[in-house]
């Protein structure tokens, strides 16, 4: 299942992927054991380098960021029924104990996107892959949220909102055209659906005066409905075009209503009363029986994010799953 990850420059895309990988490592090795993941070699090389750096208190370097164009993981979720079977049966391949999902994130350069937006033609294979995405993860950088409308961050956010809105409409248009094409050729496809997920990145940098102006309290609520309302209150102000295009998908025949909201933060070292000099350093957790020496980040949110895909996995249209199966087979048997 292709998944598009959209984020402005320096919005924390690589850090997000690094933290997602950290969360996968931790969650996949927990006692509960109902989640597994696998990463292809190319993705593993990059992600393990990011992971190592983070365990060494460093944020991803610019060189590493440049190496990323596509990252994929295969998520495996233990099926509910199989989970109740004895261990030795669960381990058998024929039992198919895990439902799997391929999570691919593409990092597309701003120029590629701009070229596509201006021309409307997806000439590059990466953009073509991107348009096939069923899940669109939009990173919204909280450090750029300001209520001062004459500042550069405000204008940057306005521009980012326009870019994301345009991309979402491109996704919707592509899905609708594909749907109509399949329908015309006699196939009876499921109505097109895109699952947007918003990640409020650098949430710890969200300024108190912004929250106060918007009438929001500090801290992200835990209740699902309250989370949605809280996140949407922020997004309605800072990315209104994106939000309204998501809502409007249904009248254009592509549902995008089921948006999910997550937040991401990673604690950085600060010295009392002093501004940090140079690159900030990541705070790491102490060693405990369940692990340690890892970045101190919003782990629960990342677990929620991983679990979110469990629900989506059950709703992916058959034609997409078939296409993936076909793609996987052609990779195994190149001739």
């Amino acid at each position: 299942m292709p998944c598009a990850l959209l984020g402005d420059r320096a919005s924390g895309k690589t850090t997000f992927l690094g933290l997602l990988y950290s969360a996968q490592v931790k969650y996949g090795t927990g006692v509960h054991d109902d989640f597994r993941f696998h990463a292809p070699m190319a993705s593993l090389n990059v992600m393990s380098a990011v992971y190592e750096g983070m365990k060494d208190a460093r944020f991803p370097s610019a060189t590493l960021k440049e190496e990323i164009t596509e990252l994929s993981f295969i998520f495996g979720y233990l099926r509910k029924v199989q989970g109740k079977l004895p261990y030795y049966i669960r381990q058998q391949n024929w039992a198919k104990p895990f439902s799997t999902l391929r999570f691919s994130a593409y990092d597309v350069s701003g120029e590629d996107i701009e070229e596509f937006i201006e021309s409307g033609i997806a000439s590059r294979p990466l953009i073509q892959q991107l348009l096939k995405s069923v899940v669109v993860v939009v990173l919204v950088d909280c450090s750029k949220m300001t209520t001062d409308i004459d500042t550069a961050p405000y204008k940057k956010m306005l521009r980012y909102d326009s870019t994301v809105a345009k991309l979402l409409v491109a996704f919707q248009t592509y899905k609708k055209q594909e749907y109509d094409r399949l329908k015309d050729s006699g196939v009876n496809p499921d109505p097109p659906m895109i699952y947007p997920a918003f990640v409020l990145s650098k949430f710890d940098t969200l300024r108190d005066d912004v929250l106060a102006r918007l009438g929001l309290h500090q801290g992200f609520p835990e209740d699902k409905r309250a989370r949605k309302e809280y996140a949407e209150a922020l997004l309605r102000v800072f990315v209104p075009q994106t939000l309204s295009q998501i809502r409007g998908g249904k009248v254009a025949g592509v549902s995008m209503d089921k948006a999910a909201y997550f937040l991401s933060w990673v604690r950085t070292e600060t010295q009392e009363g002093m501004e940090p000099v140079g690159q900030p350093r990541i705070v790491r957790t102490g060693f405990r029986p369940e692990g340690g020496g890892e970045p101190d980040f919003s782990y629960d949110e990342y677990v929620n994010f991983i679990e979110h895909f469990r629900h989506i996995a059950n709703k992916i249209p058959d034609e997409i799953l078939e296409a993936e199966k076909f793609q996987a087979q052609s990779l195994v048997r190149p001739n």
């Binding site: 345009k166 248009t173 075009q241 309204s244 998908g249 249904k250 009248v251």
Partner: protein, 306 residues
């Protein structure tokens, strides 16, 4: 699809109108509880999002946007409040059938471009061709140019524009004398209504604020009083009803304004932004008028479908 032609003189606020219309859509369709949904076509987005950015930063449309923006297309879904037993039952869901496709065409300024069919040509080409086939026509009247009833022998400031619009309407009637839509829905939009001169209102014995959207007759009378000395030929044609095969529907009237501010005397005028519920901003403009216009267009679309 409902084709709407946007006609106005140079500097009458055509691009600003489209920007405010888009701002209305964005603001009114971003909450799950909102009764409006819209989806802009990919082709329209590039220009209109740039326009939105400019206006949300307090700027009026620049020359590049004015040059590039000739069309705005979107699908609109509106949910009207129902009365009686079980209001809204079954009406909460949105789907593609609930949407109306609208296409706004803005071919240029009448004062600057003389479409071929106004110069005697029988062939319509380019964006002006779309005007000939439009379902509805929005005629902008720059309120800053409105004059009180004066000497009938001397032409008023809008006389040339009046003549051009009248000629355009006559050309549309000719074009549809044998085929095409039989009805054209005229909509008058009094733009820059905050710039209407106080003496004009006083001379015509009118209040500063027009009657609300619900007071249809009073509103029509108010707008008619202002427009009759300024666009007499256009009004006569439109109110004349039928001209050959094609007929004009009853005209509707809307008022557009956006508040401005200047930070110092040397700087150019900027759009004043106002805070909205929930903490965001929007241009300080006549939002209710734009919502009324969208409803009016949705009604026309429904009639056209029938």
């Amino acid at each position: 699809m409902l084709h709407v032609a946007l006609i106005g003189d140079r500097g009458s606020g055509k691009t600003t109108f489209l920007g405010l219309l888009y701002a209305t859509l964005v603001r009114s369709g971003s909450d799950s509880a909102d009764d409006l949904r819209f989806h802009t076509t990919f082709e329209s987005l590039e220009e209109v999002t740039t326009l939105f950015q400019q206006m949300m930063s307090g700027g009026f449309p620049d020359a590049a946007v004015k040059e590039g923006l000739h069309e705005l297309s979107f699908t609109l879904g509106l949910r009207k409040a129902k009365h009686g037993f079980l209001p809204r039952l079954g009406s909460r869901k949105w789907n593609a059938d609930a949407g109306t496709s609208l296409q706004f065409t803005m071919p240029g300024s009448l004062g600057e471009e003389r479409p071929g069919f106004l110069q005697g040509s029988t062939i319509g080409t380019g964006p002006w061709r779309d005007v000939l086939d439009a379902d509805a026509i929005i005629l902008l009247a720059d309120s800053a140019n409105l004059a009180p009833k004066g000497d009938p022998s001397s032409p008023g400031p809008m006389a040339t524009y009046d003549g051009q619009v009248d000629a355009l309407l006559a050309a549309i009637q000719r074009w549809r004398s044998r085929s095409g839509h039989e009805v054209l829905h005229p909509i008058f939009l009094l733009s820059k209504f905050d710039s209407v001169k106080a003496e004009v209102l006083k001379a015509m014995n009118l209040e500063a604020d027009p009657p609300g959207p619900a007071e249809v007759a009073a509103r029509a009378a108010y707008a008619g009083t202002l427009l009759s000395p300024n666009l007499p030929r256009t009004l006569a044609t439109v109110q004349g009803g039928r001209g050959g095969r094609m007929r004009f529907d009853k005209p509707t009237y809307f008022f557009s304004w956006v508040r401005t501010e200047t930070k110092d005397s040397s700087a150019s005028e900027k759009i004043r932004l106002r805070r909205i519920d929930g903490g965001g901003w929007e241009p300080d403009y006549s939002r209710d008028e734009y919502l009324g216009l969208l409803e009016c267009l949705a009604d026309i679309a429904a009639k056209t479908k029938d």
